[in-house]
């Protein structure tokens, strides 16, 4: 190589720009990491003091303000049931709404569904809680229960499920729908057997995000399931604890033992969401064909 031609010279200005932007992107990456790392490390550090089998397997029944024992067993059960029921409501409804909008929608109902989901995305969680409180708990006289909390959480999940599913379904190439239709497969079967499986991993991600988001919701729980210090395995009757409301209640007390319980509760919540994520990813991977 002679190195004299114009091909060999990198203009100084461009090299400078390249370095600047490389530094900037890395910088932004580090800045974005700071809150994540600090939150996780703080929760792990403070939460591990009380995070043990005792904490996971005992409720707060009979634990006085000065007692050091007690745990979040009742709250874990409550959260699992509430979020589980919320998912049972929101995921089918959300999937069907998204399928309608993307696959079948013609006419004025489509923009209406889009508009409503957009508006719902902006609903503050306390408003969802208030709605269930006035409508379900008071007006219909159903009383406080884990199920009332599940309804509020479902309302919060729904727009996320619809939105992400809509986007992912939109990414499925039309050529696949055409291939299926051209084989004489009816439209509904095309959606169920070709489009949805193709979009499955994306849909799973969206659904998990929606679940993760509502798992940590506190405000709606306080208005719908209240809180409870004992185990209530029946989500359809009587007040029920949940991990977020448990953390909220413990953190509001002056004793160090209660604050430690709050941190351990937060750690439990964090691990629960992480576990959920892993399980969902596993499901998505298993259902996808390996190459």
């Amino acid at each position: 190589m002679t190195g004299t031609g114009t091909l060999h010279r990198t203009p100084r200005g461009r090299a400078l720009k390249d370095t600047t932007f490389t530094v900037l992107t890395w910088g932004a990456f580090v800045v974005a990491l700071i809150p994540l790392v600090s939150v996780v490390s703080l929760v792990v550090q403070k939460g591990s003091k009380r995070f043990d089998a005792d904490f996971l397997l005992h409720s707060m029944r009979g634990i006085g303000p000065r007692d050091t024992g007690g745990g979040a067993y009742h709250a874990i059960i409550g959260t699992l049931e509430q979020v589980g029921l919320a998912s049972l409501i929101a995921i089918p409804v959300g999937l069907l709404a998204a399928v309608y909008v993307v696959e079948h929608g013609r006419g004025p109902l489509v923009p209406l569904v889009r508009f409503v989901t957009d508006v719902m995305t902006g609903v503050p969680s306390i408003v969802a809680g208030l709605f269930v409180f006035t409508f379900w708990v008071l007006a219909l006289g159903q009383g406080f229960s884990g199920f009332a909390a599940a309804i509020a959480l479902a309302i919060l999940m729904l727009p996320t499920v619809v939105r992400t599913t809509e986007v992912v379904l939109g990414l499925v190439p039309d050529s696949l729908r055409e291939a299926s239709l051209a084989l004489g497969v009816p439209r509904w079967k095309t959606v169920v057997r070709v489009v949805l499986p193709t979009a499955l991993s994306g849909i799973t991600t969206g659904v998990v995000l929606a679940i993760a988001r509502v798992t940590g919701e506190t405000a709606p729980l306080l208005l719908t399931a209240l809180n409870f210090d004992s185990i209530n395995t029946n989500p359809f009757s009587g007040q029920q604890a949940g991990l977020p409301s448990y953390v909220f209640a413990q953190a509001g007390q002056p004793q160090a033992s209660a604050v430690n319980r709050a941190w351990a509760g937060a750690l439990t919540l964090l691990l629960l969401v992480l576990l959920l994520n892993l399980v969902a990813r596993l499901i998505a991977r298993r259902t996808r064909l390996k190459g």
Binding site: S175, E178, A179, L181, L183, V185, T190, T198, L289, G291
Partner: protein, 258 residues
């Protein structure tokens, strides 16, 4: 098995836009008919009217009659899905189902239409893959994803998928335009073989291809942008490429326009 197609005064619309106007032609069974013409002249649109795939697009509709032997595909009470099982289609870009294995791709049309029984499916898969000249290449990896094959193999997989439901007519919309010459040759050879059993209609931009494989050639064109496409003439391929009746056909095939 193969059936004759008669189109009578077929017009196709996208909303208010008329894409093709007044196309009438006859396609003989067990022959290959090529449709040629410049881009945007409505050949693909016409092809899609032959298995009611045109109406899949929102706002699209068809006027006129398409007779398969004596049955009007657009007659009252005709089930579009049944039409599509009878008139199969292969698309421009290979489009195997990405979530399915090679086996499942070929069996898809049968499985999704409710055919059960492993033996029956196994037979259909082998027969179709043999029919598409793909069997020897994939028989040891039927469980692998169809999307992992090469482009030419994927297109033959799509042909196998289309013939697995035992259609009577096979429509091919520029099936080789995304393929290299060797894969193209494989598909062309395959078409010549399939002609013994099916009525084949192929849309192509490649005039040599039309001349090589087809028995009959139809020439479509448009008068200008925004105008509907029309069939200028259809005749034996030999005649179209040596001594066409219409001046416009001659101009096109000799490369004077389009």
């Amino acid at each position: 098995m193969a059936k004759r197609i008669v189109a009578r005064d077929v017009s196709a619309y996208y909303g208010a836009f008329r894409a093709i106007e007044g196309v009438s032609l006859t396609i003989e069974p067990k022959s290959i008919t090529a449709l040629i013409g410049p881009s945007g002249c409505g050949k693909s649109t016409f092809l899609r009217t032959l298995n009611r795939m045109h109406e899949v697009i929102a706002g699209a509709r068809v006027e006129g009659q398409v007779l398969l032997d004596d049955e009007d595909l657009y007659g009252e009470g005709v089930d579009a899905t049944a039409v599509r099982r009878t008139v199969g289609m292969v698309f421009q870009r290979p489009n195997p189902f990405p979530t399915m294995s090679i086996y499942d791709n070929v069996a898809a049309g049968l499985k999704l239409n409710g055919v059960k029984g492993k033996q029956r499916l196994d037979e259909a898969v082998e027969r179709s893959l043999r029919g598409a000249n793909l069997w020897t290449e994939v028989k040891d990896r039927l469980g692998k994803p169809g999307a992992g094959l090469s482009g030419g193999q994927q297109q033959r997989l799509c042909i196998a998928r289309a013939i697995a439901v035992e259609p009577q007519v096979l429509l091919m919309d520029e099936p080789c335009s995304a393929l290299d010459p060797i894969s193209t040759l494989a598909i062309e050879d395959l078409m010549t073989e399939l002609k013994d059993r099916y009525t084949i209609v192929i849309v192509t931009h490649n005039m040599q291809q039309a001349a090589r494989v087809s028995d009959t050639t139809g020439f479509f064109t448009i008068d200008g942008p925004g105008q509907p496409g029309r069939l200028v003439e259809i005749d034996a391929t030999e005649k179209i490429f040596s001594n066409p009746s219409e001046k416009r056909t001659e101009d096109y095939i000799t490369g004077r326009f389009g």
